[in-house]
């Protein structure tokens, strides 16, 4: 079988912030009632994280849970473990009315870091990214210019962005332009 590679093969660029395309990340979309016992067991068991609250991301390294909507979770696991985790989760779900699907290869992941990371994202998303409005652990589904995306803030103030793989090139170009040297606005 051919070697899986990420959308932009680890592209990296530096401007007023550092933009990196991260490698392969295992992602499982889990839809169902967040209070359902089977679903909770499947989600927490696969990642070792608690259930996230509204618009919260609980991520450590390559494992974590993100709140996508009142009936959807994004389960992050290491890429090589996706299939095994999926089997585990199906078992935990049992007869619960829920669905877990591997979407790892449909997505691309970026990291935006540096002191101007907030500003770079604020140029493209209609989101309050002020330090009071968006804190580490906050998760938001929104748009980046013209495409759907989701991002959350890590403890060190960097952002992790998830978008569809088909628009990875567009998102990378966007981020690159938003992070052009000398383009800082000083809003935050």
């Amino acid at each position: 079988m051919s070697e899986p590679i990420s959308a932009l093969n680890g592209a990296r660029i530096e401007g007023i912030a550092v933009i990196e395309e991260l490698g392969l990340q295992g992602m499982i979309t889990l839809r169902g009632d967040h209070s359902d016992k089977g679903l909770v067991k499947a989600a927490t068991g696969a990642t070792g994280q608690k259930m996230p609250g509204q618009r919260q991301a609980l991520v450590e390294g390559e494992s974590g849970l993100c709140w996508m909507s009142p009936d959807e979770l994004l389960v992050l696991v290491p890429y090589t473990e996706v299939d095994a985790k999926l089997v585990e989760m199906q078992k935990a779900l049992g007869s619960s009315h829920a669905r877990a699907v591997n979407v790892s290869d449909a997505r691309a992941v970026f990291r935006v870091s540096g002191p101007n990371a907030r500003e770079v994202l604020a140029k493209m998303a209609p989101v309050d990214l002020s330090p009071e409005g968006f804190k580490p652990g906050d998760f938001r589904r929104t748009r980046l210019a013209q495409v759907a995306a989701a991002f959350w803030m890590e403890e060190d103030g960097a952002f992790r962005i998830v978008c569809f793989r088909s628009v990875a090139g567009y998102v990378f170009n966007l981020l690159q332009i938003a992070a052009q040297p000398g383009s800082d606005v000083g809003a935050f």
């Binding site: 618009r55 996508m68 909507s69 009142p70 209609p126 929104t142």
Partner: protein, 109 residues
């Protein structure tokens, strides 16, 4: 620019994150109804200058549909509420009455 509060994910989303879905609380007339009822269901929509009820989808967000009570003349938003209802909840009606006494919209007031 409209800013609507999504009752599902709690975000104050601006218009570009949303998708308009037309009039709210349209009562469906399907099999068994007569032609006039079906005609009205398909084609007759309110077009008020003032209080209006609409459906909106948080398309670039949680993806959920919700209802909005707003004024078409001033763009003032009276409130948003989840879509699992066939009529505006009492607190939304009260909020509208406080600002537009004597309002009516279809059979609601």
């Amino acid at each position: 620019m409209l800013i609507l509060h999504c009752p599902y994910c709690g975000v104050d989303a601006e218009e570009t994150e949303l998708h308009a879905g037309g009039e709210a609380h349209v009562k469906r007339f399907g099999p068994g109804s007569d032609d006039d009822q079906f005609h009205d269901y398909l084609f007759m929509r309110e077009n008020p200058k003032g209080v209006h009820f609409e459906r909106w989808q948080h398309a670039n967000g949680c993806g959920k549909w919700f209802h909005v009570a707003r004024c078409t003349a001033t763009l003032e938003v009276f409130g948003t509420y989840p879509a699992q209802t066939t009529e505006p909840p009492q607190e939304i009606r009260d909020a509208i009455t406080a600002k537009r006494p004597g309002w009516t919209w279809r059979e609601f007031s």
